[in-house]
């Protein structure tokens, strides 16, 4: 598979010379707009305009479409809202526990798979990547059936005598979070692996040989060659996973429905509940949604900062 092709870092091409000096440049400019206007209009009207609308809505309060201006009252309410705080804590738990585990696992697997002498490499790679073809809803329902109280997961663990009593994977507040974390890790590890494999193919094998001659152990090689050289890709996948986890919705909706007692609710799900499940309160829901925006921006900036430190 020519994965490596995907990762050649191309230099920015200079604008074509004839564009600068040609008499036709004005004509070309017209075509430049013709080709780009549809996307500008669509993204403008269905992303940026709603963003502004959401902010305006977040300053209002009321039921349904009967909204009046209340200033920052909605944002103040966030500080006293237990369910909101719970959903933030849950989301952060998923983020802090799941993302590092998944990224390390994906890195480890891709380093193992990058071995030239490995047999059945294509099989392993395909198998581990396979979860990516399932839809989030579909795999969530599958996990729900596997992790039910009398389901297969408990049956296996009981038969292997690893457990004496079945684990309440879905109905205990603690284990329900674990189930969600296991599910997300299953779905996304292979996806991240593909990025690292592509990155690893661009690392010159002679670097490792030189390190081996210098007596560096595989662990040392991993931390002082692989990780630094893959840093841009690790950063990219971390930012993507963070953004994705902060928006977690499908899995929680379909595995636990946020329960038991909001123990697994995420911020996205709370926004959905506020707008479409409880009596609609769009103003407050919009204020909650802005907290995700702020979290994504702040966390991405922190991650870029941390990764850019030794440059």
């Amino acid at each position: 598979m020519p994965i490596s092709k995907g990762l050649t870092y191309k230099k920015e091409a200079k604008p074509m010379k004839f564009l600068k000096k040609s008499k036709l440049s004005k004509n070309y400019d017209k075509f430049g707009w013709l080709f780009t206007i549809p996307s500008i209009v669509i993204i403008g009207s269905f992303v940026f305009y709603p963003m502004i609308q959401a902010f305006i809505t977040s300053l209002k309060s009321g039921m349904g479409n009967n909204l009046r201006f209340v200033g920052i009252a909605n944002y103040a309410r966030l500080f006293t809202d237990n369910i909101f705080q719970k959903s933030v804590v849950n989301t952060l738990i998923y983020l802090v526990v799941q993302v590092p585990i998944m990224i390390l696992l994906a890195l480890f697997i891709s380093v193992l798979l990058n071995d030239k002498n490995l047999k059945w490499k294509a099989f392993f790679r395909t198998a581990i990547f396979l979860p990516c073809v399932t839809s989030l809803v579909a795999y969530s329902v599958i996990f729900k059936s596997l992790f039910s109280n009398d389901g297969l997961m408990n049956k296996i663990l009981l038969n292997l005598h690893l457990l004496n009593t079945p684990i309440e994977w879905i109905t205990s507040p603690f284990w329900a979070k674990i189930t969600i974390i296991i599910a997300i890790t299953w779905r996304w590890t292979g996806y991240n692996m593909i990025f690292y494999l592509a990155g690893l193919q661009n690392i010159d094998p002679s670097i490792y040989e030189a390190a081996k001659i210098d007596g560096a152990t595989s662990v040392k090689q991993f931390f002082s060659i692989t990780v630094p050289l893959l840093k841009p890709i690790i950063l990219f996948t971390t930012v993507m996973s963070t953004t994705g986890t902060l928006q977690l919705f499908d899995e929680v909706m379909n595995i636990t429905k946020g329960g038991p007692g909001n123990a697994t609710t995420t911020i996205s799900q709370y926004i959905y509940n506020l707008s479409f499940k409880y009596t609609p309160n769009f103003g407050y829901a919009a204020a909650v949604s802005y907290t995700i925006v702020i979290m994504i921006v702040v966390l991405s900036l922190i991650q870029f900062k941390v990764a850019g430190d030794d440059k």
């Binding site: 920015e12 091409a13 269905f46 581990i128 809803v137 059936s145 299953w186 990219f236 479409f276």
Partner: protein, 272 residues
């Protein structure tokens, strides 16, 4: 020592592979079993396959209608997205100037905006539209047509497009649109294939926005139906697994038949 290390490698990779594949085997087995047996965790294929299929297609939830809905939505939004995004990727790269470069950077910012923040204003917006308001196919499709990611993907791939050909086309008397349709599109086939796969997949699997935008039962898409079946009071897992297998088939087929493009599409965003 070396032998231990290498066998550890194989054991570890085998375990991870088995875990990755197992839920697929599980759904294939469960599709042939009664719901009770699925709940009990039976790993033996049963004889209930036809019964499950019958239940699935005869259920009140109208699974066949949802397949039709999802298919229509996924195909239309894939075609429209490819047109809009390849136009934009081409336009931003071939006719570069400062203003458009700046606009492009602003468009990229939209990738940071979570959908959860857009759903309320989008819901309100579409509830006021007359012909493509809520509960229509258009309402599901329109917000997904233009994604910054896809534009970025096309622009990155356009960077390696041989620009001399453009000049040659101009000298041959082709106009700018013809250059795009007759030279660019045929040359970029594999980029289009990769983009089509990711777009089709994300549309086929989309859950949150259709959940909000589509309320009447006959409009629902496959993920909505599977979700409804899975969250019923006593889910019929045999039937649901049959539904999941059918829902996963298109993406699984694309993956096995076009693995190269599939992976290229997934990796697209790292380019550059």
């Amino acid at each position: 020592m070396k032998k231990i290390k290498s066998s550890f490698k194989y054991i570890f990779l085998s375990i991870v592979s088995i875990i990755s594949i197992f839920p697929f085997i599980w759904m294939l087995i469960s599709m042939t079993n009664k719901s009770v047996d699925v709940s009990r965790g039976s790993l033996i294929p049963g004889t209930y396959f036809l019964e499950n299929m019958k239940n699935l297609f005869n259920s009140d939830l109208n699974f066949s209608m949802s397949l039709w809905n999802s298919g229509k939505i996924a195909i239309i939004s894939t075609v429209l997205s490819l047109v809009v995004a390849s136009f934009a990727g081409y336009g931003f790269e071939i006719y570069r100037n400062k203003v458009r470069d700046r606009i492009f950077n602003i468009l990229l910012l939209s990738m940071m905006i979570p959908f959860a923040a857009l759903m309320i204003p989008l819901f309100k917006m579409f509830s006021t539209f007359k012909f493509f308001g809520l509960n229509t196919m258009a309402a599901v499709i329109i917000p997904t047509i233009s994604t910054a990611f896809l534009i970025f993907f096309f622009r990155q791939n356009t960077k390696s497009f041989p620009k001399d050909i453009l000049e040659a086309g101009r000298i041959d008397g082709l106009n700018e649109i013809q250059i795009f349709t007759r030279i660019y599109v045929p040359t970029m086939k594999s980029t289009y294939a990769a983009a089509a796969i990711i777009t089709f997949m994300s549309s086929w699997n989309n859950y949150m926005w259709p959940l909000i935008a589509l309320q009447s039962p006959e409009k629902r898409t496959v993920p909505l139906i599977i979700s409804t079946m899975g969250s019923s009071y006593s889910p019929d897992y045999g039937m649901i697994m049959a539904g999941i297998v059918i829902a996963t088939l298109p993406t699984a087929l694309v993956f096995f038949l076009m693995q190269k493009h599939f992976v290229a599409g997934m990796l697209g965003s790292v380019k550059g």
